[in-house]
Subunit: 327 residues, 2 copies
DNA sequence: ATGAAAGCGCTAACAG
DNA sequence: CTGTTAGCGCTTTCAT
């Protein structure tokens, strides 16, 4: 079907090696023959078979990324940032979605390895020693994003705990005396890796401890909307601090629908600063987790690792507390 | 590094051919030797090199997709749907973002071909005869999503024109007497393929023609927010019909901020029904473009084409007009 | 039932 | 400057 170096060689009456040299610009080669080869290559519509090249070179120039679900705006932005950085460095991005399925995740990792990805970025749903050992045994550079696995596996993220603490400080500073931490993933602790959210709740606890006279409640169920009303009594100034913007948005729309507005003495704060927040009125306070910076950092570090440089066990991107009208 | 069939063969004291047979279950093979091979393969942590396999088989079991920008919620959902269908059929998805850059798009397509993707799904930004010929010359099954290129290139989408017409009918039925079609991409006509939006404006015109006494205005600039106020006079019942949900959201938040609510006699309608709409109050009328169905259909058809079946020049997913409080 | 040999398309080491 | 040879890891005739 497609024309190969072999045929180019035949057409030009030279060896495949010379063709290869002309096309890749390695080694010494006569300017004329080079020109001839390049010319006929173009005219024949020659395209190199990157599969074959990868096989012999031992590198594919492909990165793999495995995320929960890309229709989740957080991961979509993340992937976007990673892709940009990867391409800038000559790498392609292979993406696949693991849907929070632990078995599938393992399968997908293996598959990426089998396809000889040069490196893998993983937002893991698995956790624990066995999983860590599995990852260590891979021979493919890999790093995890967001959910920590073990000190043997390089981790990229932000200081979630400190960020949550700072966010709570903002809320307390605004006079809230009850923080309801809305974090449905917590109830999935047995089923998967929710390190990120566990760090956040630790940070929340830290923040509460910093001040006396502030109550903490936690909603760790997915039917959180049904559990809100008990905290809306108008007496205690209460904020629903959500471990993710989508929960905040969901709560905002629930409240708007039920009370036509944000009830008095009630505030809402999110986490992540996903792009869609920009469309909301009133504006929603949140924690900017620097999705783009994190993604870029992850790609950069992975490429470093591929190139044999050593990278830190843990790397942190910055974060920013963003005030908003919702609080 | 990784153990190969060659080494397995040596360990078991047999030929590579037999190893291959045992591992793939082809041809006759002694049950005992097979068991032995499989056992040692497992114990040695053998993993097949899919690159090598693809090279000899001539198939990679990879699909490629090229979209504008995945942090756009529409494409994120689309990619998600395609990935699901692809994986169900044993294919992996390679994704890359073209950022509405025509040159980059060409480069990316070539790269996907060079990597021997079995098929490619493209949301094209290029257009015209030359581009169509380029695509036809590829030898790799390919189809386009949303933006039509030519009848030589299979197209998947919805009937945008009819959908827009129906949407206008809804608005007129609700008493709107002026439709302001907000479609910034229209001003990029010279710079790229905006077939989708061109179809939509045709449909809008159709819808207006169906009724007399209804005015049409078009905003085809990216600074559309600055151009809204001239249409808000309280006299004529006016709807801002947006060629994309994000424009609708943007306008809604602008209006809420400026007037504290949706001004009297003003309505807003979107297009696409991206998932984030669900968080908005008041609910936003839109056109459900069946993103998931479209994505699934695209993947299915591409796989059919890869398998040598012929597929229609144009395939349409369904759409639905969704009423909402915004109108 | 198993093995030998050839080949996928490319690159690289080594001669000449 | 160019060609020969070998090989990446796998599958696939074709013999045996």
């Amino acid at each position: 079907m497609a024309v190969t170096t072999k045929e180019l060689a035949k057409i030009c009456g030279i060896s495949r090696t010379t063709v290869s040299r002309a096309l890749n610009g390695h080694g010494r080669i006569d300017a004329q023959t080079k020109a001839l080869i390049i010319e006929t290559a173009k005219q024949q519509g020659y395209r190199p078979d990157l599969l074959a090249r990868s096989l012999v070179k031992g590198r594919t120039m492909c990165l793999g990324i495995i995320v929960f679900d890309i229709s989740n705006s957080y991961f979509a932005q993340m992937v976007s940032a990673i892709e940009a950085e990867a391409r800038k460095n000559g790498y392609f991005l292979n993406i696949t979605l693991q849907e929070k399925d632990k078995r599938l995740e393992i399968e997908l990792i293996n598959n990426m390895v089998d396809r000889r990805m040069d490196g893998i970025i993983l937002c893991p749903v698995n956790k624990g020693r066995k999983f860590s050992e599995f990852l260590q045994g891979l021979h493919t550079p890999l790093l995890v994003l967001g959910n920590f696995v073990s000190d043997k596996i390089p981790f990229i993220g932000i200081n979630e705990r400190q960020a949550a603490r700072d966010a709570v400080a903002l809320q307390i500073g605004k006079g809230y005396r009850r923080i309801v931490f809305v974090c449905p993933p917590l109830c999935d602790a047995a089923r998967g890796n929710i390190y990120t959210h566990q760090q956040r709740i630790l940070g929340v606890a830290d923040g509460i401890k910093d001040c006396s006279g502030v109550d903490l409640a936690v909603i760790d169920r997915w039917n959180y909307l049904e559990l809100l009303d008990q905290w809306i009594d108008g007496r205690v100034k209460t904020s629903f601090f959500c471990s993710g913007d989508v929960f905040a948005l969901d709560i905002m729309s629930y409240l708007k629908r039920k009370y036509s507005f944000l009830p008095p003495n009630i505030g809402v704060m999110g986490f992540d600063n996903t792009r869609m927040l920009q469309y909301f009125v009133p504006s929603i306070a949140t924690v900017d987790t620097s999705i783009n910076e994190t993604g870029r950092l992850a790609a950069m570090l992975l490429i470093k690792k591929i190139n044999g440089e050593s990278i830190p066990k843990r790397s942190f991107a910055s974060y920013r507390i963003l005030d908003g009208e919702s609080i």
